[in-house]
Amino acid sequence: MFLHLLDDSQKRAFIALAGNMVTRDGRADSIEVAYLKRLMIESGLGRDLGDISSSDSVEPGLFASRAAQCAVIAELLIISILDGTYDDGEAAFADSLVDVFGLSSSDHAELCRIAEDAAGALSKMQGLVG
């Protein structure tokens, strides 16, 4: 939903983080995988989920701008809550990246609200159109 705020190298790095978030709770729910696939298509990185590498760390400085940092965290939070649960492992991963980016707790709270609104829209749309 917010990948237009990233450049190509940031998109590739983000998809690796997203691949990690999808399996963070020990299972890959279909709605999370479907959203990840959509993000790949939006990023111009193809449709083959087998191409995704998984990473739990970011190269310092790659996401230097505030817009890029916010986009990454928001998208990861959306992925993590799309299945209706926010697992401890997912929360720990998101928290660690918030720390790496140096975002404030109020920024984090706002990003959680954004993710909840976005995930709500995505879930309701999926319920309507299948």
């Binding site: 959509r38 916010c70 928001a74 954004i114 609104d117 749309m125 159109v129």
Partner: protein, 130 residues
């Protein structure tokens, strides 16, 4: 946000409708244009988008599935409210589309709720990331 569900031809026709929605209230608000730009990016049409005649009738028969009609309607609703206002002329335009698409009152209410969630997330992200 949901354009991945449309065919290439449907996307082209959707953008004709989107341009009509943007001028429906006789004002072109910056957030509306920003969201339209984001949709062009999502559709892979950045730099290739045509400027349609906003007075010309759009052939709606191209939207030949309920899914496509729901996606078009929700995206038009997001455009209408992303500037924080739902002008009576925008509502009139949206209601006309809903009627022509045969969307039920229940579906319409759900689409409005989805659009509100999505628009809120977009506005909050813009405020946070800027």
């Amino acid at each position: 946000m949901f354009l991945h569900a449309l065919s290439e031809q449907q996307k082209t026709h959707f953008f004709d409708l989107a341009q009509q929605m943007i001028v429906a209230d006789d004002m072109v608000a910056e957030p509306e244009v920003a969201y339209l730009d984001r949709l062009y990016w999502e559709a892979g049409l950045v730099g290739r988008a045509g400027l349609g005649d906003v007075e010309a009738a759009v052939d709606l028969s191209i939207f030949d599935s309920l899914k496509a009609r729901l996606v078009v309607t929700v995206e038009l609703l997001i455009i209408a409210i992303v500037d924080g206002e739902y002008h009576p002329k925008e509502a009139e335009y949206a209601n006309a589309m809903v009627a022509q698409f045969g969307i039920t009152p229940d579906q319409h209410a759900t689409l409005c709720s989805i659009a509100e969630n999505a628009a809120q997330a977009l506005v909050d992200m813009r405020n946070l990331a800027d």
